[in-house]
Amino acid sequence: MTIRTRLTLWYAGVLTVSLLIIGLGTYRELSEQLRRDRNRKPAEHAIAETGELVLQVGLPAVLLGLLGGWWLTRRALSPVAGLTEAIKKIHERNLREPLPRTGNGDEIDQLAKVFNDTLARLDESFNRTREFTLHASHELKTPLTVLCGEIETALRDESLTPTERDRLASQLDELRRLARIVDGLTLLAKADAGQVALELEPVRLDELVRDNFADTQILAESQGIRVELTACEKITVRGDRHRLRQLLLNLADNAVKYNQPQGRVTMSLRRAGDTAEFTVANTGPGIPAESLPHVFDRFYRGDPAHSSEAESCGLGLSIAKWIVSAHNGTICIESVPSKLTTVTVRLPLAQKNEFRL
């Protein structure tokens, strides 16, 4: 029950009680008057007259009061509805935009003020975290460069035994993986801080998909995985070519990596309403239902067995999600464990006039 209904009901109750009191008062007054007039049937007359009065005057007054009350509460609570709408739109990226205030200093205005202060504090703390990640990833790059460079220099030494060489090479592999993680982190930290500018232009998505399909076939070949492109409609979106290619390769690579030998990868690109819909489905172990909501989280690994997967950096899907959101699109994942896992990306189509540019 909304506050408005509740207040209106209470108000109706109060009005009814007042009506009763008024009725009772009127009845007494009337019977008194009638007795003084020495009427024979004072009681019946008084009741009838009171009833008439209450019906003809009291009831319309109550109805009017009720309507007025309903209107008043609605008016009083309308800023709350506005506030609710404004608060609904808050997410971590627009904390800086304060809620609209009436400025008249009433209770609701006070509430908005307090809420804005809270938002400002939250925004500051979010910023601090973002900046920390950004600085941390920058700071990590210099020592990583030094380490990689020195190991590579060491590997040039002809006098190394094969064991030493293997050990160094394996260290170098791990360092490079670390470097990729740092790269991914930097990218995401920058995206969070709104520091990555996309180079938007009309992009023929079908061409990118075909290109990516060819690469995926090659990637899948050694594991006997069959790759199919079931549909590839001619579609133009407004986007950043490099980031879209990164997105496609990222999804395709996952579909191959988390597959089974002799498995299957099916891709399609279709027009769906005013969006371009790209899907990648793959066979393989799949993702348990409880992990699905978290797969786009940074460093989330549903299956602990995957944590030793040397090739992935744990940021692939987070980056994919960022790329899709930056293009005002949506990405979702469905999985039937040990059957089929499907990722669906929807991107808004380019406007007709952009198409010609």
Partner: protein
């Protein structure tokens, strides 16, 4: 070949110098932009490795000043930030190449070598390594007179490797030139394509031409 390395981080500067010296380059090192500008005034270099983040005058403004003074020495920019925008900004300011940190040393050396290679070294439309030929006009590949069927991507890969024959090609460099990727996809795409290409151009022929340099990249040449 004389190369100037401008890098404030001493250790990084030191191993870059060692690696380039090992490849037969004469190397000078500066730790800040003003020293670099002074060095360039007195010594003609064949190439400059320039870090963007320098104390005082940063790499980009050093580069702009160089170009303003009509100095056309090829410049390879290094950056720890690795932003796409920065790359574009650097190339617009007159850089010839750009490498984000942390880079692979072999990659850096390969790029410096490509940078300092005299232009017009290979003007022919037919590339040739031993008995392997590639016609860049008709896209026809042959080894020992036998035609080799190549997909579009394989063709571009082979073209790149043959154009840089004898020089090491790092994975990032290949991804950039053949795939036009400006990011590290974290896949073994390059290795898989190299394997396929090797099956086509090397499997049935001697001597082998396409060699792997462990932890560094690939090189196409006649001698191992």
């Amino acid at each position: 070949m004389r190369v100037l390395v401008v890098e404030d981080e001493k250790k990084t500067a030191s191993f870059i110098r060692k690696a380039l010296q090992a490849e037969g380059f004469a190397v000078d090192v500066c730790h800040n932009g003003d020293d670099a500008l002074a060095a360039v005034r007195v010594t003609p270099f064949d190439g400059i490795v320039l870090d963007i983040m320098l104390p005082g005058r940063d790499g980009l403004s050093v580069l702009r000043l160089l170009r303003e003074r009509k100095n056309a020495t090829p410049v390879l920019l290094l950056s720890a930030r690795g932003e796409v925008n920065e790359r574009v900004e650097g190339l617009n300011a007159g850089a010839d190449d750009y490498l984000p940190k942390p880079f692979e040393l072999a990659e850096l050396v390969a790029r410096v070598r490509a940078l300092t290679r005299r232009s017009g070294e290979n003007k022919s439309t037919v590339l040739r390594v031993a008995d392997l030929t590639l016609d860049t006009v008709t896209h026809r590949a042959q080894r020992g007179g036998t035609d080799i069927e190549l997909t579009a991507r394989e063709y571009r890969l082979l073209e790149f490797l043959m154009a840089s024959a004898g020089r090491l090609c790092g994975r990032m460099m290949i991804l950039e030139k053949v795939w036009d990727y400006d990011f590290d996809p974290g896949t073994n795409l390059v290795d898989v394509y190299i394997k396929r290409l090797r099956e086509k151009i090397d499997a049935d022929f001697e001597p082998k031409l396409l060699h792997t340099v462990r932890g560094a990249g690939y090189v196409l040449k006649e001698q191992p």
